[in-house]
């Protein structure tokens, strides 16, 4: 039987375990709380039963106490009644009606008080003890009987019938005693029964408590163990699955899927894990396709793309490079220097080393040999990639084919040179009269001195000294004329842009000397404000002369229409910052209507102008790394300014 019960219990526990082992519908927290609540409930229930049983015993004890009280109360009533009867009988013996009337009242009061006391203490007893239906009615009967008996006796006594009194006392009053006696007997009997019952109850409660306490302990322990095992298992199993999944993920097996049971936190974790794995898988795929695309872009863009380590060692080159240079990775593809034109190689390498040393970007134009063996110009750039600490971790570079641009630039330069020449020639034309005048003066002087020389020679005696002086003047004037011609030639010589170290003021002076006559003829006052301390500049003398000449000529022409004031042209040279000089040519002529358009090619306000002057001037100045602009005057006319870098120790 016991074995059977044990198996039954085992089966039950197993079933409970099955139900509670996978209570994954509940959160782990709730599961634990439920478990504890259940155990506590079991304990509480057992405690409640024990308490209840103690309460039962206590109630029994109280009841016993109540019964004893009842018995005592009853005995008191009984004794009081006995006293009352005895008293009455004693008085009746005296046959003194007056005494009876006097004493009976007192006796009755005492007895009734006792009875009343009994009734009130009875009413304080537990209600189930009051349920004895005999008690109160009996007391009532005795109470009312006492009164009526006493009344009857007094009446009999006052009418002098003492015999009737005595008969009544013995026949009717005395028997009342038996009423209380019966009640006392009955209550005593009840009390004995109750006592026995109470003792039995107490014993039963004791047995029960001895049974409940260990049973509860064992039961609670069993439940705790079962539920604890179940809950632990319900946590560790999913955790093991998750661990396995994590390991798989670490190995890169994104397709690994963790089996999920229930709805608890671990199930959620499993779900999150699966979601994460799937997303990682998707991300990986996206990354791969993106990389493929990027590689395709890099390989197909019309530029060479490469990357190098911080020391400049190339670690990546795109396919375009290989295709373009005809090299292959196996066959010197990495050896980029073999593709650089030998003439450019040194410059390129220097530039590269400089950039590497400075840690900055590099830009260089160089010719690279193409697959067909021809060289083409490329713009080669690379920039460093810094980490957070500023260290260079990588260099990325591109080389873009600029052969076409190079050719266009050359063509442009040629065109500009041609155009400048044309401009010069054109200017020459404009200067012809002035030049003729310049040349004519020494020529006239030569002719006059020649005549004088001849006269001195033909004089008698020939004045040789005077002749010599004349001859010397002829030579000087000839030289002057030659100089003028030489200067003009020099001005219009189509010389390549050889840059020399020049005194800017000297260049200005040369131009002014050339224009002096013309200006004077036009009634123009030429003023200069030249800073004698200006250092030298490095420039093409002819081109610089052309610029100054053009600007002064423009000023002179701008003042053609001026009649109401003195035509003045002011040429000023000054420092423009520490590294440059500025030259201003100021007139008080008509000024520019539209200063910005002044630099457009073929824009002119002159009737016979080409409109190329200022445009050419600007291109010349910009070729010298300077700037040329038009500034407004405070008064009438315009000022055209240009800057040109000074020759400093650092510049070439």
């Amino acid at each position: 039987m016991q074995r059977h019960t044990a198996t039954e219990f085992g089966r039950l526990v197993k079933r409970v375990e099955e139900k509670t082992l996978h209570p994954a519908r509940l959160n782990i927290g709730s599961r634990l709380i439920l478990c504890f609540v259940f155990i506590i409930l079991v304990m509480l229930a057992a405690d409640a039963v024990v308490l209840w049983q103690f309460q039962v015993v206590r109630a029994q004890a109280e009841r016993l106490n109540g019964i004893d009280q009842k018995l005592v109360t009853l005995l008191r009533v009984h004794a009081s009644l006995l006293e009352f009867y005895a008293g009455l009988e004693a008085i009746a013996q005296t046959q003194d009606a007056g005494l009876l009337v006097k004493e009976a009242g007192a006796l009755r009061t005492v007895a009734l008080n006792d009875i009343q006391h009994a009734v009130s203490s009875f009413s304080l007893l537990p209600s189930d003890l009051q349920r004895d239906p005999n008690f109160l009615p009996t007391i009532h009967v005795i109470q009312s009987s006492l009164t009526s008996q006493l009344e009857t006796i007094i009446k009999l006594a006052t009418s002098g019938d003492w015999r009737a009194v005595q008969l009544r006392l013995s026949n009717q009053v005395r028997p009342l005693e038996s009423m209380t006696s019966a009640l006392v007997e009955k209550v005593d009997h009840d009390a004995a029964e109750q006592r026995t019952e109470t003792v039995l109850n107490a014993g039963r409660v004791q047995r029960l408590v001895f049974m409940i306490v260990p049973t509860t302990a064992v039961f609670a322990l069993l439940i705790a163990a079962t539920l604890g095992l179940a809950i632990t298992r319900s946590i560790t199993q999913p955790l093991a699955r998750l661990l396995e999944g994590s390991k798989a993920l670490a190995r890169g097996e994104f397709q690994h899927h963790v089996a999920i049971q229930g709805q608890d936190e671990l199930a959620h974790l499993g779900q999150v894990f699966n979601d994460t794995a799937r997303r990682l898988r998707d991300l990986y795929a996206v990354l791969q396709s993106s990389e493929d695309r990027l590689r395709l872009v890099i390989d197909t863009i019309p530029a060479h793309v490469w990357s190098a380590g911080p020391d400049g060692t190339v670690d990546f080159i795109n396919r375009r490079w290989l295709e373009s240079t005809g090299l292959s990775l196996e066959n010197g593809g990495w050896n980029w220097s073999s593709a650089v034109h030998p003439e450019d190689l040194t410059r390129f390498v220097n530039s590269l080393h400089l950039a590497l040393a400075a840690g900055g970007p590099m830009e260089c134009e160089a010719r690279l040999r193409q697959a067909d063996g021809k060289y083409r110009w490329f713009l080669i750039r690379n920039v460093p990639l810094h980490d957070e600490l500023g260290n260079i971790v990588k260099r990325y570079g591109t080389s873009v084919d600029i052969e076409d641009r190079k050719q266009a630039e050359d063509a442009l330069r040629q065109a500009q040179a041609d155009l400048a020449h044309v401009n010069r020639v054109n200017t020459m034309g404009e200067l012809t009269a002035s030049l003729a005048h310049e040349v004519n003066q020494p020529l006239s002087a030569i002719a006059a001195n020649g005549h004088a020389c001849l006269r001195w020679l033909s004089a008698d005696p020939p004045n040789l000294a005077k002749a010599r002086e004349a001859a010397e003047r002829i030579i000087r004037d000839g030289q002057d004329a030659g100089e003028i011609v030489r200067r003009v030639r020099a001005l219009f010589r189509r010389a390549p842009g050889e840059k020399d170290v020049l005194d800017l003021n000297e260049v200005i002076g040369e131009v002014l000397r050339l224009l002096g006559g013309d200006a004077g003829k036009r009634g123009i006052e030429v003023e200069t404000d030249l800073d004698k301390k200006l250092p030298a500049v490095v420039a093409d003398r002819v081109q610089l002369q052309q610029v100054v000449l053009n600007l002064v000529l423009n000023g002179i022409e701008a003042m053609d229409q001026v009649a109401d004031r003195q035509k003045t042209i002011l040429i000023r040279s000054a420092w423009d910052g520490p590294n440059a000089a500025v030259v201003e040519v100021q007139d008080n002529g008509a000024g520019f209507e539209n200063p910005e358009r002044a630099f457009e090619a073929f824009f002119t306000t002159k009737q016979n102008g080409m409109g190329m002057g200022l445009a050419i001037c600007r291109s010349i100045i910009e070729a010298h790394h300077g700037r040329l602009w038009v500034a407004s005057n405070k008064g009438p006319g315009a000022t055209v300014c240009f800057t040109i870098p000074l020759k400093t120790s650092g510049t070439q």
Binding site: L41, Q53, R131, S148, T152, K155, N171, P175, R204
Partner: protein
Amino acid sequence: MKRELAIRIEVAVCIVVLSLLLADCTSVHAPVTLTFVDQGWATPAFNQERERELQQFTRETGIQVKLLPSPESTREQMALWRELLRPGVSGPDVYTIDVIWPGILNENFLDLKPYFASEISGGFSAITASYTVGNKLVAVPYDTDIGLLYYRTDLLREYGYREPPRTWDELEIMAARIQAGERAKAKKEFWGFVWQGAATEALTCNALEWQAAEGGGQVIEKDQTISVNNPDAIRAWQRAARWVGSISPPGEVGYKEWDTLNVWIAGDAAFMRNWTLGYVDSQAAGSPIRNKFDVSLLPGGKTGRVGTLGGTGLAVSRFSAHPREAVELVRFLISRDVQVKRSRLVSQAPTRPELYELPEVLAANPRFALLSQAFRTGIVSRPSNITGKKYEQVSNAYMQAVHSVLTGERSAPESAKALENELVRITGLKAGPPPGGSARP
């Protein structure tokens, strides 16, 4: 779903364990116990017999019965009954009620007519009517009683009388003569006639017997006429007043049934007016007058010999928790067997007419033939059903009036006049001459 199952299993385990733990604590329902309060005279012989009856009932039905004692006089009993008959008080289930109470306590009891139709149909109709209020049978007759004359056969014989007196006047003469004779034998305490002169319900019964026998009416007639102030009644009262101190002890005005019986059983009276139950104690072993007395109808007057109807009926409390069992107890107590046995053992008069013809009943109580006749023709009923709840007041006024005449406080005509006025005031009925009685004085 599974979770619910799991919880259910857990709960089931708990319940099983707890119920195992508590199995020891369950109790068994106690059998029904009825409480019975009886106003009958608690003579030892009577009590013994009733105890036996109740034990028999318990044996037959399994229903326990607890018996409550009761006070002596009806007034005190009434007070106690009222005390017990309240809602919420675990009062008795079965009560005996005095024949004069149905009108007063009517509302506190169940209508027993549905349960005892056959029992009452064969009963004395006058008695049954006394327990019926309106159409409700408040109680079934249990102990039927009537005022009787007890007389000393030995003394009658000694003084030359062959039979008991037929009229009150005869009784007066016989009593006086025997008393004088006995007093002469140095029996100073000897009296001719003892009765109930204390101002209790018993006096109402006595006085009613006197005046009704003389044609002085029944206090309040069935036609609701108040009939106390008439020459016949006055004369009857005056005669009784004359007895006090002459043939009856001076303390007679304080005598109740017990005092009367005390004197009678002590052998110090020639005649006694009392109820049927006095017989048992008089005839008890050790009684000085055992076999020296007999019972007869009360003496009469102009209109005949009447005794006041007394006795009790069994009623079931409206507040009883076990009305079905209570009815069972009532049925048992009025059963033929119990009545026959009671008549034999305690001389209780049966309530059924046919029982008076049984040889076994008559053999034990030869005088029951007399009772049977009295119940049919010699009954005078107190006006309890006519006055209903006011009966107590009426009876009280009546007994006080008669008592004042007995004690000599007032003259009989004066008292009768005052009583008439008071009864008119109490009941609102009209006063008039008794049917067939003499004109008013």
